[in-house]
């Protein structure tokens, strides 16, 4: 039984790491209805910028704000150069544009900062501790705590600040929001900037776990089922979706994988996601679009 609990806890904590990436997708989708394919590249770019500065001897507390500034500048550039000219185009056009942005960011980041693998030490101890006979990773606990703080901060931002409420207004009805003087361009820059901040947090934690390397872009593969399950418009959904995917993956790998004689976690999360699409297409916490006909 303790092995089952340990696997479950390990999976839940791993799921939180996926949630961190998924939150970045939710932010952009919530404010603009755009599925930002470039989120994985932003995670790589943030981590690579940060670790490059650390390698040059820049202090952690200086490297972090500089990286954030770089991410905000990228956000402004993406809005100015790519999104602004495409306003009012179909969603698929915007999606394809973010696909292009993704490759540009990946390519430029590697040209400017190189393709080497970097170690990233955040000073978080990664030895296991025992809680009630169950081994838990200290690093994963810190990651879970960070995700919790992010969720609270972003909830306050979206629900209690003028900018957050304006963002929600744009997401609900862009035409109505524009008619009352909300500046779409500025808000898009803000939301992409916040997505850049989330990318930095996710990039640091994932980078510390696996090293800062190109493979960071691949973490989005698991963020997609998280989004489908949790809903594309809910930050809470991203967390719950992450927990379901993480726990489901771990348990399936142990108990189903041995029965099938191979690894199942590549596709098991997508089986869960398809099941949710059939039962609850908007996800657990997503808002189903209601339109007057």
């Amino acid at each position: 039984m303790s092995f089952f609990i340990e696997t479950l806890v390990g999976g839940l904590l791993a799921g939180v790491m996926y949630s961190l990436v998924a939150i970045g997708f939710v932010l952009v989708f919530k404010a603009s209805g755009v599925f930002n394919f470039a989120q994985g590249s932003m995670v790589l770019c943030a981590a690579l910028t940060f670790v490059t500065m650390r390698d040059k001897g820049i202090d952690f507390w200086l490297a972090a704000p500089i990286t954030l500034t770089v991410m905000v500048l990228i956000a402004i550039a993406v809005e100015r150069v790519v999104l602004r000219p495409l306003v009012n185009r179909p969603q698929i056009t915007l999606f394809m544009a973010t696909l292009g942005v993704s490759f540009v960011i990946e390519g430029l980041a590697q040209i400017v900062m190189g393709a080497s693998v970097h170690e990233l030490d955040l000073g978080i101890v990664d030895t296991p501790i025992e809680i009630g006979g169950v081994q838990v990773s200290q690093f994963d606990l810190v990651a879970a705590g960070t995700a919790g703080i992010l969720v609270v901060a972003l909830s306050i931002f979206f629900n209690k600040t003028r900018v957050g409420i304006a963002l929600r207004a744009i997401a609900d009805d862009p035409q109505a929001a524009l008619s009352i003087g909300i500046r779409l361009q500025t808000l898009w820059q803000i939301v992409w900037g916040v997505a850049g901040f989330v990318s930095l947090v996710a990039g640091l934690l994932w980078g510390a776990r696996q090293g800062v390397q190109f493979a960071l872009t691949l973490v989005v593969l698991k963020a997609l089922p998280v989004l489908i399950i949790g809903g594309f418009t809910s930050i809470t959904g991203a967390i719950v979706g992450g927990l379901i995917v993480g726990a489901g993956d771990s348990l399936a790998e142990i108990y189903l994988g041995s029965l099938l004689g191979g690894s199942v976690s590549t596709w098991f999360a997508y089986v869960l996601a398809v099941a949710f699409l059939l039962i609850r297409p908007a996800g657990l916490f997503g808002e189903a679009p209601i339109e007057r006909i």
Partner: protein, 449 residues
């Protein structure tokens, strides 16, 4: 004749003369370049695996430059090369092969280096049709060791089967002999891909022979989350873990092993889990990690001193990061270049000193004899294992050294080269090659030729 007509005639004449001159120059350039030996390099300098590849091409190109600059080429035939970016993707690798297989400026392709296990497998039959040998050091199809069935595939030096067997033999060395393997639990944590599964058959056979328990645990690509796999390790409590990863899978495995409290000095990484790029991102918990490799790290080999003096110190190196000089991947590039150059040299001794084509290079490879004496002449003693190839044996070596990471660098901890049980495994390999021949309708060559 009007002035205008005269001008037209003069301009046409000048044009024709220019065309004739350029054609003549072009012909003479082709003739001149045909005195060179062309080596197309399939590289991946961008994409997910670029960090692994970049030091390899540096080692390879530096050695080629050394041959040109110091030795004046292979018996005077200078080497030329160009790169084709594959991104480590099969389609692009095949496209590169198709683009370069006809040679360049009259210089034929003697050997194609696919630099990617899936690419090499996709090219197996094409290479036979085109008579261009594929040299796949420490990767590629293991049964291609049987050159009677696979005349143009050369998994030279250290196949995946030899890798598995050498790892088991190193464990035997540590526990006090092969008889002590009985009852041990050896878990293989592998990349869930054809590459990762390649060692399942030999390990099952070795487990049956020596009496250890063979546990197989797959990790899905890319391997950036392994908590379930290492929870299983914690539950099964193996004595040793054999880690066959690629890319991000290795540092994540080392870190996750530390999280569940598995001792890192009882993890033996395979060939592609044993570079500085694999272990550095794992940080402090990687200290003590072991890896088996045919490319021992180090910059103190004699050939490195020559490379430093004639190439690096003169600013001719392809290496951007000087820290990588003597790294596992850099040395793998040097090893690969040595094998390629020596195969050309062998072919030249037989066919004459001139650029060698694929068919001749295949002969050169099958008669390659890198003896201790020859390795000493090159300055590669200890870096490259002695190997002798033949039509029946396209591997030749079959041994690896075990390295241990001390937090800063690799140190050799095995007693020299750890040999694999090739005598035990070769019959199985030949059986698989014969099955392949039956499936594809291939009539195996006569090995006595």
């Amino acid at each position: 004749m009007s002035l205008w007509k005269q001008k037209r005639i003069v301009s046409k004449a000048v044009g024709l003369a220019a065309l004739a001159l350029s054609a003549a120059v072009g012909t003479s350039v082709s003739a001149e370049e045909a005195k060179t030996q062309y080596f197309p390099l399939a590289t991946f300098r961008v994409g997910a695996y670029a960090s692994s590849g970049i030091p390899v091409w540096a080692g390879e190109i530096d050695y080629f430059r050394y041959i040109n600059e110091v030795e004046g080429g292979i018996n005077g035939i200078k080497l030329v090369w160009d790169e084709c970016e594959t991104n480590w993707e099969v389609e692009k690798g095949v496209e590169c092969y198709e683009r370069v297989k006809a040679g360049k400026n009259g210089s034929p392709v003697p050997i194609f280096l696919p630099h990617g296990d899936p690419i090499s497998k996709a090219l197996t039959e094409k290479s036979v049709a085109d008579k261009i040998p594929l040299v796949t050091i420490a990767y590629g199809r293991t049964e291609a060791i049987d050159g009677r069935v696979f005349p143009y595939s050369f998994p030279v030096v250290f196949s995946f089967w030899s890798e598995a067997s050498s790892a088991v033999n190193f464990i035997a060395e540590k526990v006090g002999g092969k008889d002590k393997l009985k009852g041990l639990k050896i878990a293989t944590v592998y990349h869930d891909s054809p590459y990762g599964k390649e060692t399942q058959v030999p390990l099952a056979h070795l487990a049956k022979t020596y009496g250890f328990e063979d546990i197989q645990i797959p990790v899905p690509h890319p391997g950036n989350e392994q908590s379930a796999q290492w929870a299983k390790i914690r539950q099964l409590k193996p004595d040793w873990v054999f880690l066959r990863g690629w890319g991000v899978m290795t540092p994540v495995a080392i870190k996750t092993a530390a999280k569940v409290g598995f001792p890192v000095d009882h993890i033996i990484g395979g060939i592609w889990s044993g570079s500085e790029e694999d272990v550095r991102p794992a940080g402090a918990v990687g200290k003590g990690y072991l890896a088996i490799t045919p490319f021992p790290a180090g910059a103190n080999f004699e050939i490195h001193q020559k490379l430093k003096k004639y190439i690096l110190d003169k600013g001719l190196s392809d290496l951007k990061d000087p820290k990588s000089f003597g790294s596992v991947y850099y040395n793998s590039g040097v090893d690969e270049a040595i094998v390629a150059v020596e195969a050309i040299r062998t072919a030249q001794a037989h066919f004459g000193v001139r650029p060698i084509n694929g068919e001749e290079a295949q002969w050169g490879l099958e008669h390659l004899d890198l003896s201790e004496k020859r390795l000493a002449e090159i300055g590669a003693t200890g870096l490259q294992q002695p190997l002798k190839l033949s039509a029946k044996d396209h591997e030749g070596g079959g041994a690896g050294k075990v390295l241990q990471w001390d937090g800063e660098k690799w140190n050799v901890v095995s007693n020299g080269w750890v040999k694999s049980d090739r005598d035990l495994l070769l019959p199985l390999i030949y059986e698989r090659a014969a099955a392949y021949a039956r499936e594809k309708g291939i009539t195996p060559r006569d090995a006595t030729n």
